[in-house]
Subunit: 345 residues, 2 copies
């Protein structure tokens, strides 16, 4: 594979100019300039034709923006998925530190897990002339970014891959980490192991479910449907799911929690029950070691995800040629007590 | 007070136009247009004069930007102080929800506690044409925002007030909350009460120190210098401070921790020691109730801070006339065990 899509001046050719827009729209250069600069004297019909040509060619005012920007700081955008998930704190901070080391400002926004919002935000950041984007995607179709990428906006996906476009992605080994977590519970004698995870349309959630199933299959244990609960990670939903797993006639003896939002609610539900239930959570979280028992987790390196993604972004901006790559970072099992409890029937 | 500084078209007059810039610089309108749009044909000296006039008048390309923006979403900026402090998660999310309810995008950035970075970021967001700014300030001089405010950018400070300008601010009752926390420890029999806080140049830290001193003075207890440790809130500094308070010949019997970053480290240090020491923390934090003992805190309503600030911002943007106000939100003492421990000598 020798795709060099993101190198301006290569493969996709150089950026379209105002002249290209004028030729495409069949109008004069001054007319394009008027439309682009919001000056009067253009009929609505002509304005529409110019906008169509701008969209068709993926024209952006970057070249003149460069001049405008003299003395201004370069900037990169980070599209987050959820502002209130503490997992993204160290990731954001790492992206920011790399940006700063490159003399660039970081501008963030959150999609709040809404694909339309993600698109709106990513394009708004491009319209505000960021030089590159780090995206934690909420959606699974990123073709809307193709014109921006062609126009030279560097783009790296992190935590989850891009959908329907070929782009750099920096991911954790979600499958391997989940398999390790469940194998750890199996090694401590558990057979009835529940899994509470995020919605399976989310890449990370699907990969962790796959890891759970793989570990159970390798141990020769048929998984009952009632052991798996997938859905939103708000406390109310997770609490109901945990209570169903724990309060039935044949309760699970261990729970694998699919992310830190799930884990903290499961910890809370378990703390209310006399019967000890083993727990391994995906993602580390603050104070996990000070709970009793300490919470065993499969930890991702959130800071390293952010750092790697940001460094790849600046490699693109520096014009280092490379094909889009998927980088996979390992996870780490941290044993603290909750994952080493024996099964209690 | 009937200051209506932030209403465009009032008091400060309407926005400066390209014509004003041309007159101020002593050049033709076309020359200004060339400079603003980054077109060629302007000598460096003329360009410099035009930029000086732009800066002197606070000219912004907003009017033409409005036209460019047809069909684009309005946006507001949020300048955070620290991406990795979980206190700002719910605050950011609340600002985002209010922005969304008003059909606006939220764009964030973090100053990482650096006043220069705050200024650079706030001005970069203005240059990218946000309609308003919510600022959690790192610095204490915000005169750099005056041209933006005059040009119609709505501005609200949250968590900490603006410095050297008169602007809307939404704050927690840091003084009252801290006084309440320390009075609570005094009511449980403590006399030797330590305070570990953030750097006193930070408004919230200074207010909390003032609350600590007020409660101690009201109880007639002279405060020894060694009981107070102010500085960065990184785990290493806080650990050293806590160990000094706890391991001397006359250790404190209770600690008041000045924010959530301090509290989690103090919890960790106390968990390593056999002698129970009482603790009240400023700021609630996740899992505080599941620790043993549960951690008594003075809770701020971070979401309500964000919501109130954002609503005030949109009132400004809607042209609702009002004088700059300081809104103070109450704090709430939540007792969970650690703050009710008796003194042990």
């Amino acid at each position: 594979m020798a795709d060099t899509a993101r190198r301006p001046g290569n493969r996709y050719g150089s950026r379209p100019t105002m002249k290209d827009v004028a030729a495409h729209a069949g109008v004069g250069l001054k007319t394009v300039s008027r439309v682009v600069n919001g000056e009067p004297g253009v009929t609505p019909d002509t304005e529409r034709r110019v906008h169509e040509a701008i969209n068709a060619l993926g024209f952006r005012r970057n070249d003149s923006a460069r001049v405008l920007r003299k003395g201004r700081t370069a900037s990169v955008g980070l599209v987050l998925e959820d502002l209130a998930d503490p997992f993204y704190g160290p990731l954001s901070r790492a992206v920011e530190e790399v940006a700063r080391a490159h003399g660039a400002l970081l501008i963030n926004g959150s999609s709040a897990e809404d694909p339309d919002r993600e698109q709106e935000l990513a394009l708004a950041l491009c319209a505000r002339r960021v030089d590159g984007l780090v995206v934690i995607p909420a959606g699974d179709d990123h073709r809307y970014l193709e014109p921006e990428i062609r126009a030279g906006v560097a783009t790296v996906f992190v935590d989850r891959p891009a959908g329907k476009i070929d782009a750099d992605a920096v991911l954790s080994d979600n499958f391997g980490g989940a398999r390790h977590a469940v194998a750890h519970l199996l090694a401590h004698g558990h057979r009835r192991i529940g899994f509470i995870g995020d919605r399976p349309v989310i890449h990370t959630a699907a990969e962790r479910l796959r890891g759970y199933r793989a570990a159970m299959a390798e141990a020769g244990i048929p998984v009952e449907d009632t052991w798996i609960s997938l859905g939103a990670t708000d406390p109310e939903r997770v609490r109901r799911a945990a209570e169903t797993l724990l309060d039935g006639p044949e309760p699970v003896t261990a729970v694998f929690a699919g992310n830190n939002r799930v884990t903290v609610t499961v910890v809370r539900v378990l703390s209310e029950r006399p019967r000890p239930t083993a727990l391994v959570g995906f993602d580390d979280f603050e104070l996990a070691d000070l709970l009793q028992p300490g919470v065993t987790v499969v930890a991702q390196d959130a800071a390293q995800l952010g750092r790697t993604a940001a460094e790849r972004l600046f490699q693109q901006l520096d014009g280092v040629p490379h094909a889009p790559e998927r980088t996979m970072l390992p996870t780490r099992l941290i044993t603290r007590g909750s994952g080493e409890l024996p099964p209690v029937d």
